[in-house]
Symmetry: C2
Subunit: 321 residues, 2 copies
């Protein structure tokens, strides 16, 4: 059963969990009961991949693209989803329905799982699927959406793409978390890491774009190929704005006319200051505003969105099986 | 209550968990019930540190050194253990007592935890402590201890030390897991990754040592400062064998007279072949044998070991508080 709206108590510590619904061990449970074994390699080795899609006004946005990336990551990690993409869609839709959320943050996860013998060989593990739907969350809060997020540029390099393939969405975030603390110490609100060459890479869960002389640039390597990044590039093409993926230097970022960041958690979000420098006077720049409007307008376009109630239910799926 | 010896059924999938005992949410539970929230940043961001100590014949080996490293990692990640080192010792000892294990693999973990508001700010999270004791496990099985482990040298670089501080023991293992699959494809049993300069780094949970002309070398950078690595260096000094931490090239490794690996999970373990080359005729070399014997002999030395029953109990700790 799903839990209704409102937070739930975590008995032992008096803490709360967000409202929502998770699917784990083939059961739907409230978020307070969504737990994995401490022996799961997804925890003990961070041996897992995931994807996050959002639901806005009752519609999934670009669900097909998120599922394609998730399945690609699973194949690259040599894991196996225990069912096909249709059942995956049905489970995600059921999480949202049971959570009774119109605007939701929906995560799908496949971990290496545990081995019946606790062998150290990943080939012995039974992969574990988990999904959950919780209220929609954003990298930028309402205040930051008005004045722009204040970013710090860290000298910490993002984990190199030769070590961990960034196109496989993963939970290797200790570099990003260290960067966040560095940003807080510097009086900023969020952080951008660099790549091995000292050019910009990405922040915790978001890509970055700089607008210089009507030309938009986003880093081309060592970053997650974000679905919102891809969407922004496609919408910029529709707006007939020149945009490219290419190395982006710190100097070019700080000299930009506008800077924005993109994430499924928040969409297109303005940047206010970068290490104290304000590219567009502590307010979203004109292109950032146009792009943001177009991005949200696309959420009701049936080409890029699908209603939660249009997706198959688990009963439909069982009949198809 | 602890679970007794013998595996436990995982009802939903018919899988088994190892016997043992975990401490989580201030309770002792059998391994089948040791679970963390899927919303814990220790899972969703791999934002956690840990340590593993072993118990051999009822005695913890170098517990103080493991605890010192664990506390150091916690401080570097700017987390807080909710109690002091004495209670930590008491909890670990209680896990082993309840698990009724003479030889145990004992893991202590501190995760960033969850935030009551599910905020993305790590400063809002309540750090979560977990510990568990399960049967002693080894990187090398009995057969491999006789003929040596067959290793593959991968061209995948270990996650760089500028990105993630390797002295903070962490779960960022996707590079190591990719290397393992590469090794299996090549017909080997385990893997060594290189560093950014193409010298050797480490394998999944172990350090590597090469013996060339009576001089022992283990990589000096970009590796976990393993307690067994440190122990091996100290024991080599006692044996009056020259040993140094320095860059170790693939060529030097393959030309070595003997190669061994070290881990809390197995101690000192011989390497049989490296990409098909056998440094010491598919058997532990003479120095590896001497070192292995001395290593296990130290497990009853009170300078480096302490009996599980000599450690405080939680009742003692409560009285001291």
């Amino acid at each position: 059963m799903a839990d209704g709206p409102g937070p739930q108590l975590r008995p032992e510590a008096g803490l709360t969990f967000p409202p929502g619904c998770a699917y784990i061990g083939s059961q739907f449970v409230p978020m307070s009961e969504a737990k994995i074994s401490v022996l799961d390699w997804g925890f003990l080795r961070s041996d897992a991949t995931y994807d996050v899609v959002h639901v806005w006004k009752g519609r999934f946005f670009r669900l097909d693209v998120h599922i394609e990336r998730f399945l690609n990551g699973i194949a690259k990690l040599r894991m196996e989803l225990p069912f096909g993409p249709e059942r995956l869609q049905a489970i995600l839709a059921e999480c949202v329905r049971r959570a009774e959320l119109n605007d939701a943050y929906v995560e799908m996860i496949l971990t290496r799982g545990t081995s019946p013998t606790f062998s150290r060989d990943p080939r012995d593990a039974i992969n574990t699927f988990i999904a959950f739907a919780i209220p929609f969350g954003s990298v930028a809060n309402a205040d930051q959406m008005t004045r722009g997020v204040n970013l710090h540029v860290s000298s910490i390099p993002r984990i190199g793409p030769d070590s961990v393939d960034p196109t496989v969405k993963n939970y290797h975030w200790l570099d990003l978390v260290a960067g966040l603390y560095e940003a807080y110490d510097a009086g900023a609100e969020n952080v951008l890491l660099v790549d091995g060459d000292g050019n910009l890479a990405e922040g915790p869960g978001f890509n970055v774009f700089a607008v210089n002389d009507d030309q938009v640039t986003t880093p081309d390597r060592g970053v997650l190929e974000g679905v919102t990044r891809r969407t922004a590039l496609e919408l910029l093409a529709e707006l007939q704005v020149k945009a490219k993926t290419a190395p982006l230097s710190i100097a070019a970022l700080k000299a930009a006319d506008e800077v924005f960041i993109t994430s499924t958690a928040g969409g297109v979000m303005p940047v206010g200051r970068i290490d104290g420098v304000a590219p567009s006077a502590d307010a979203p720049g004109p292109l950032t505003q146009r792009l943001t409007e177009r991005y949200w307008a696309k959420h009701t376009d049936p080409v890029w969105s699908v209603g939660v109630d249009e997706l198959p239910t688990l009963d439909d799926w069982r009949r198809d099986d």
